[in-house]
């Protein structure tokens, strides 16, 4: 059965382009232009994944509200924010509401599809036992690339998709400096320096909430970051 992707986007051209791409990838796509429409459809059946724009027609923050309602109904439903907004505050609030990723619209369609695929892969992986081949262990860090789950000293650290890929890129070759471009490529995003810096900062903070002494992500000024054990 085809996986169902819901796209809630008020801009028809973008919506149709996304729908076309996902359809081509073999997904069943359902499109909604506003929150009311989407909620009405979701009340009968939840999609397998939701891509939500933050501002929906006359509701500037409609996407956040939609995300909250969806997350209330399902803890596991992958939710991706896709927005023209790129402010730090929006990203933080989106991720705090339980979104799995926060993406700006300058992301290319292949990148978006890669992410969606990854999220579905994670869903699948969660239902099957973990395969040891997919697990990287670096000191206290345990990284399951299939389930996209990260543990630090046995405790789960909840990372967004972008954050996970960045940690993954760093931790795979500890001690090697990954510059920003490499991190962006790994995360399938195009971001500016400050956004990468804030992503790294968020990653550190998430690890530190588990272990206040966490210091494995090191900044190499002028170059990038590296993982130290």
């Amino acid at each position: 059965m085809k996986r169902q992707v819901a796209i809630v986007e008020d801009e028809p051209a973008i919506r149709d382009n996304y729908a076309a791409a996902f359809t081509r990838e073999g997904y069943a796509v359902r499109c909604y232009a506003n929150r009311a429409e989407a909620m009405q459809a979701f009340s009968s059946r939840l999609p397998d994944l939701a891509i939500i724009d933050i501002s929906l027609q006359d509701e500037p923050e409609g996407g956040f509200e939609l995300c909250r309602q969806l997350r209330a109904r399902s803890a596991e439903l992958p939710i991706i924010f896709l927005t023209a907004r790129d402010s730090e505050i929006d990203a933080v609030s989106g991720l705090r509401l339980g979104a799995d990723d926060f993406l700006t619209k300058d992301l290319s369609l292949p990148h978006l599809i890669a992410r969606v695929n990854a999220l579905f892969r994670r869903l699948d992986a969660l239902r099957t036992p973990a395969a040891p081949a997919d697990i990287i262990t670096r000191g206290a860090l345990t990284l399951d690339s299939e389930r996209m789950s990260v543990q630090w000293s046995g405790q789960v650290v909840l990372l967004s998709l972008t954050e996970f890929w960045m940690v993954h890129a760093l931790a795979r070759h500890p001690g090697h400096v990954r510059n920003r471009q490499q991190l962006m490529d790994a995360a399938n995003v195009v971001l500016d320096d400050n956004t990468i810096t804030s992503h790294v900062k968020r990653i550190r903070r998430k690890f530190q909430s588990v272990d206040p002494k966490f210091d494995a992500v090191q900044t190499v000024y002028g170059m990038g970051y590296r993982w130290v054990e």
Partner: protein, 697 residues
């Protein structure tokens, strides 16, 4: 000219007040003087009128009315004095040629014209002591009368009146002055030396004679010649006439005092000059030498005239009565008494007077009125009244001083108040100016403005400025967010383009069309790069907002960053000149690096390939200074201060990368976040430009 000075000058305009006061005082003074003159004139006229026809007082003539005419006196007098001339005949001998002048009938009472023998005594201010010296007499050469006989005989006579006395000064030129020989009988012709006869009419009109004889210098007595019942002649002393006789180098001098009460109208002097004792004298003078009758008159006012005048006298007033020919007959003087009215004036008042007074006008005012005879035909005298100006000048001074004091104090207060006000205004304006200047040149937007609470026009201006400033602030902040907003707005259509291209690439397109797709993608990528650049400042501001301060060592951060630039910009050489010590700062190393990125970016943009860019960390007492030197073209002078503003750039030519003039603005933002400041200057040797960021330690 400053506002303060202008208002001060304006304040000085109030000095017109004392000036006008002075002018007014002068006007008042002239008016006062005129009034005083008029009243003085009327005083003079009143006194003159009261003296109309009073020749008795003026010239001691017989009172008017039905008195016997003077003519009738003459025979009587002649009879009465029949004897005396006869007595003197022996003494006078026939020296008649001395009295060669024709006898002037003194009968007619026209006192106004004096004949050659008439004597007009001076009005003396004090009684000269009877010592035979002339020093005590006023020096009035015109008042002297001279009589001569031959070439060598000459005497001068000066007369004067003081109170009720007639004073006579005789100056006789005599080559052989000769005293009487001492003897018992003054009537013995053998002892006769030089003798002087006084002849006069007594108040009854009878001719009287006395002679003066001296045996040596000193006081001299007058004697009259009397013929006794039996023809014996005696020469009793006339005690009322006193005098002194002194010899001089040219002859001798006689000073005499005769009570006016003895004297009538006529008066004369005859000198008997002898060259040897007992010789026949040469007689000359103003007496007839035969009968010794008077030839001339004594034109002198009655003693009562002075007391008559004195009754009109007041302090500060001087009355003076003169004959038509100008000789003073009588005067009463109380001018000096007015001085007592004026106390010593204070310094200030004297100072004021210097400004108000015109020189030479303040002393006296005079007025005169003619005195007519009974018939109002002829002028018999002139009364002049002199008043000292002291009294009313004192009054004026008093008023003037008070007025000028008042005006000056008013001026002073006004000037002071204006100056203070001007200073206050200038202060407020200076604050306003400073605020308005720093509002534009300062690094921060000014949100508060001074003086906006003031209720006056300056407050209006300040409020206007504040409004303008808030508009400017709105506009500037709008401009600052414009880039971000624009980026946001363009992102949606760009997403449409890019997602369409993505879809198109998945479709079957001809190789030729694929090329176009590739170009469209290039274009959209560039557009995306522009969007990212436009949003950079906003993101830096966000990053600053969420930045966490840590305590870090600046040196390794800079070292690692500079090391990385070599890779990032292969066309440039980088050199790091960093301190050897640990430089601890509180801040965000990420942002510091980002700031350095921007500075290096800027340096790279303005230099040619192969240029050496130096990053230096210099330590000051309180600050760490990061310097980035590049050998690029020097900064044009006008851009100083604007260099670090948002959305401002000065690039000589276009560049393939998008620039929005945000790089150095970001540098300033980050420097400010660290409490520091950014600046730029040309290198002293003109070899390039140095950008400095001063971070306090």
């Amino acid at each position: 000219m400053t506002l303060r000075l202008k208002l001060l000058l304006l304040g000085l305009a109030t000095l017109v007040l004392p000036w006008a006061g002075c002018r007014y005082a002068r006007e008042m003074e002239s008016a006062l003087r005129e009034g005083e003159q008029t009243s003085l004139q009327s005083v003079a006229q009143t006194i003159a009128a009261s003296l109309q026809g009073r020749t008795d007082l003026l010239y001691r003539e017989a009172p008017p009315a039905p008195v016997a005419p003077a003519q009738s006196l003459t025979p009587a007098a002649a009879d009465a004095s029949q004897e005396a001339p006869a007595d003197t005949d022996a003494a006078a001998g026939n020296g008649t040629e001395a009295a060669a002048a024709p006898a002037a009938p003194a009968a007619d009472a026209v006192p106004t014209k004096s004949g050659p023998y008439d004597l007009e005594p001076l009005v003396l201010t004090s009684a000269p002591p009877l010592d035979g010296y002339s020093e005590d007499w006023p020096r009035v050469p015109t008042a002297w009368k001279y009589f001569t006989s031959g070439e060598h005989r000459r005497f001068g006579i000066l007369t004067g009146v003081y109170e009720r006395m007639l004073f006579v000064l005789l100056e006789v030129h005599d080559e052989h002055p000769l005293f009487d020989a001492p003897g018992t009988n003054v009537l013995d012709p053998a002892i006769f030396g030089d003798r002087v006869w006084l002849g006069f009419e007594d108040p009854q009109g009878v001719q009287q004679q006395v002679f003066l004889a001296a045996t040596g210098p000193g006081s001299v007595t007058a004697r009259r010649v009397e013929i006794g019942e039996y023809g014996q002649r005696t020469a009793p002393i006339e005690p009322r006439i006193r005098g002194a006789w002194q010899t001089t180098s040219q002859g001798y001098r006689i000073e005499l005092r005769v009570p006016l009460s003895m004297l009538g109208r006529g008066f004369g002097v005859l000198v008997d000059d002898r060259d040897a004792r007992g010789a026949l004298p040469v007689s000359y003078g103003s007496l007839r030498s035969d009968d010794l009758h008077t030839l001339g008159r004594l034109i002198v006012a009655a003693p009562e005239l002075t007391s008559y005048l004195a009754q009109f006298l007041q302090p500060g007033l001087k009355l003076s009565l003169s004959a038509p020919d100008g000789d003073v007959l009588a005067r009463a003087d109380a001018l000096a008494q007015a001085g007592a009215l004026r106390p010593e004036s204070p310094l200030l008042a004297r100072l004021y007077r210097r400004f108000v007074d015109r020189p030479g006008e303040r002393q006296l005012i005079e007025s005169s009125a003619p005195i007519y005879d009974r018939d109002h035909r002829d002028v018999i005298g002139t009364l002049s009244v002199t008043q000292s100006a002291q009294r009313w000048i004192h009054l004026r001074d008093h008023a003037l001083t008070r007025m000028l004091n008042f005006a000056l104090i008013t001026s002073l207060v006004a000037v002071t108040a204006m100056f203070a006000f001007a200073a206050w205004l200038a202060l407020r304006l200076a604050r306003l100016r400073q605020a308005s200047e720093s509002a534009l040149t300062g690094t921060d937007l000014v949100t508060s403005f001074p003086e906006t609470g003031a209720a006056d026009e300056l407050g209006d201006v300040a409020r206007g400025f504040a409004t303008l400033l808030s508009r400017l602030n709105e506009y500037t902040s709008y401009l600052r967010t414009l880039a971000g907003k624009l980026a946001h707005e363009i992102r949606t259509p760009l997403t449409i383009v890019r997602s369409s291209l993505d879809n198109l690439e998945s479709e079957q397109v001809s190789p030729a069309a694929r090329e176009y797709v590739a170009r469209a993608r290039q274009g959209s990528e560039r557009l995306n790069a522009i969007l990212i650049a436009m949003g950079a400042a906003t993101r830096v501001e966000e990053a600053i907002g969420s930045a966490e301060r840590v305590h870090f060592d600046l040196v390794p951060v800079l070292a690692s960053a500079v090391a990385a630039y070599g890779g990032a910009f292969p066309g440039r050489t980088f050199r790091a000149e960093l301190a050897d010590e640990v430089v601890m700062l509180d801040g965000a190393p990420d942002l510091i690096v980002q700031m350095l990125d921007k500075l290096v970016d800027n340096a790279v943009d303005f230099t040619a390939a192969g240029a050496l860019i130096t990053v230096r960390l210099r330590l000051e007492a309180l600050a760490a200074v990061i310097e980035v030197d590049n050998p690029g073209p020097p900064l044009p002078p006008h851009i100083e201060g604007r260099l670090f503003e948002s959305l401002w750039q000065s690039r000589p030519d276009a560049d393939s990368r998008p620039h929005f003039g945000l790089g150095l603005y970001i540098v300033r933002l980050i420097a400010k976040f660290h409490g520091g400041e950014a600046s730029a200057r040309n290198l002293p040797d003109g070899s390039g430009v140095r950008f400095l960021v001063r971070l306090p330690r």
